[in-house]
């Protein structure tokens, strides 16, 4: 049972990580557990409200689709974090390990466990929603929902695998056919209901208004729905497995002639290098695609959502999520991470220039990626200049968050530098907050909220940039004062 041994090794890896967190940051671990428990309670508590949505035409199916999309994003994200076979290639080539065993132990079962745990609050919530809207056998329907949630997660994981590159065309064809089959099945089975995007949740109960104006529940035959959901799940498993079984070629070095006229100074070379690396690195590319998919997908979904007061809130939430994802993409270049460390440490220039180059890079990248990802929402849902201004503020905020990611003194070598960085971080955040509040109040008084929001965003960016440059300068001075031994 080699897969069991590999699964145990994964369990030990997670256990080590949790114990390490408990030893180094015990309060954060307690807070994470408390937040998770609170989220489950809030999900069940909110079921009453979501049950009310069912009386809005398309409300119940729209809500189901939203949760299935959450499942899809969960699968996509966790697929990115799972260990890659290529790290074990040399070891496994020397033994007779079958790829399917390796896949089951190292990736398949861990993914299923993680998705299963995240599904618990949503399944509990849907169970209660179905009971509240008096759908018969709510437990069985919650089970069908759980199966579809798993399907959505595996489809998300499959898309993530595609973006990493599938080198076997035969496996690619099998996986793509299976993936297309799940979507086609769902689409063909949904012709009887006119709700927008209902075909994404076609096997689940929906709500409609009859000729007398009363809400009625529309539900497929439970056995047919359960069977269809099971077939969808099987097809999704096939798609993900086939995409994941791609053989990794031996490592090889490639030399790429870099002839773009970008100059040799850090202010131009660093942003160009970062932009190219985002496109070339598997993890960064996956996160970038997730950012775009979330932004464009949310717009497409919400554009046909039933008109109600929840749309602006959902637009705001998805825009914020998209911008935070943007920040995560750019954070892969932080000094703490592998991507940017060698460049930052080896560039023969002053700390001030490195700080400035870093600030320009993350600001330009975050603003560019964020604008492209949130752009469709702005075009689709803007009412006047206020929303665009808010989006600009969020972009600026995300840029600041990215820079703060660099400033966090988590892996600095000098305790003095860590102390200065921490104090500067707290002081800078307080000053930025005070200025933002003052400008916002002034803007409200003058009746120009949009301008106040934009000004606040730019101020945040400037403060964060000044901090970045100062701390890098301090770092270079402390290094210079130590000198070579």
């Amino acid at each position: 049972m080699l897969w069991a041994v590999l699964l145990q090794s994964e369990y030990r890896r997670v256990k080590r990580a949790v114990l390490d967190l408990a030893r180094t940051n015990p309060i954060i671990l307690v807070a994470i557990v408390a937040v998770a428990a609170g989220f489950v309670a809030l999900a069940v508590r909110s079921a009453d409200f979501f049950a009310l949505l069912s009386i809005v035409p398309g409300g119940l199916s729209g809500f189901s689709i939203l949760l299935l999309l959450v499942g899809s994003v969960t699968g996509y994200t966790f697929s990115l974090t799972l260990p890659k076979e290529k790290y074990f290639d040399e070891q496994f080539r020397l033994t007779t390990v079958r790829p399917i065993e390796m896949l089951a132990g190292l990736r398949g079962l861990p993914l299923l466990l993680v998705v299963g745990v995240t599904a618990v609050p949503f399944v509990a919530m849907m169970w209660r929603v179905y009971a509240l809207v008096t759908v018969p056998a709510p437990g069985v329907w919650a089970g069908v929902f759980a199966l579809l949630y798993l399907t959505a997660a595996l489809q998300g994981a499959a898309v993530s695998e595609v973006l990493r590159g599938c080198r076997s065309w035969r496996l690619f064809a099998i996986a793509s056919s299976a993936l297309a089959g799940t979507l086609a099945m769902s689409f063909l089975a949904s012709s009887r209901v006119e709700d927008p995007w209902y075909w994404l949740a076609t096997y689940l109960p929906a709500a409609s208004i009859d000729s007398d104006g009363f809400a009625i529940a529309i539900r497929p035959v439970v056995y047919v729905a359960a069977a269809a959901a099971a077939v969808s799940a099987a097809l999704s498993v096939t798609a993900w497995t086939a995409y994941s079984l791609r053989p990794d070629p031996p490592m090889r070095r490639r030399r790429v002639a870099f002839s773009v006229p970008i100059g040799t100074g850090p202010l131009t070379a660093f942003p160009a290098w970062a932009m190219l690396t985002i496109l070339r690195q598997g993890e960064s590319r996956g996160l970038l695609a997730l950012t775009f998919l979330t932004g464009i997908g949310a717009t497409a979904l919400l554009s046909r959502w039933p008109h109600s007061g929840t749309v602006p809130v959902l637009v705001l939430l998805t825009s914020t999520l998209t911008l935070l994802l943007t920040a995560v993409v750019v954070l892969t270049f932080s000094e703490d991470r592998f991507a940017g460390s060698w460049l930052i440490k080896t560039v023969p220039t002053s700390g001030t220039l490195i700080g400035l180059a870093w600030w320009i890079t993350v600001s330009v990248l975050t603003a560019a990626i964020g604008s492209l990802a949130v752009g469709p929402s702005i075009v689709g849902f803007s009412e006047g200049g206020g929303y665009i201004a808010s989006a600009l503020l969020l972009i600026a905020y995300a840029s600041s968050t990215t820079i703060v990611g660099l400033l966090l003194p988590w892996s600095r070598q000098s305790p003095f530098r860590q102390l200065v960085a921490t104090v500067a971080l707290i002081a800078g955040a307080s000053v930025a907050y005070y200025v933002v509040q003052s400008v916002a109040q002034l803007g409200t008084t003058l009746g120009s909220d949009g301008m106040a929001v934009v000004t606040s965003g730019l101020l945040l960016l400037v403060v964060a940039g000044a901090l970045s440059v100062t701390i890098e300068s301090l770092g270079s001075r402390s290094t210079a004062s130590v000198g070579p031994h």
Binding site: A22, R23, T24, N25, P26, I27, I28, A31, V35, G38, L42, R45, S46, D48, F49, G309, T310, V313, L317, V404, L408, P409, W410, P415, Q418, L419, A421, T422, L425, I426, Y433, Q437
Partner: protein, 93 residues
């Protein structure tokens, strides 16, 4: 030891503050959309979250700033605990 303490303090403060923002924003939004009854969450004179039934909006990231002192204190506890557990693990080794 100082390094371990400072890192854990900074990390704890910032992480707890971000969690606080997310919690206040989520509960505020759910309470406003779900039309919950009025309630106040606070510690002494500091109000972390105040919801009044019938009022819409007003819940933003700024609402979470009241948690900042609490985050700094808990961050400090995080730093002290990290030093304690670090020393224990060294002794055990």
């Amino acid at each position: 030891m100082i390094k371990r303490f400072v890192i854990a303090w900074a990390k704890g403060t910032v992480s707890l503050l971000l969690m606080g923002f997310a919690i206040v924003l989520s509960i505020g939004l759910v309470a406003a959309i779900g039309e919950w009854n009025s309630f106040t969450v606070g510690l002494g004179p500091i109000e972390f979250l105040k919801h009044t039934q019938g009022e819409s909006g007003g819940y933003g990231i700024a609402s979470g700033w009241a948690l900042a002192p609490l985050a700094v204190i808990l961050g400090l506890v995080n730093g002290l605990a990290a030093v304690y557990f670090g020393a224990r693990s060294k002794l055990a080794a």
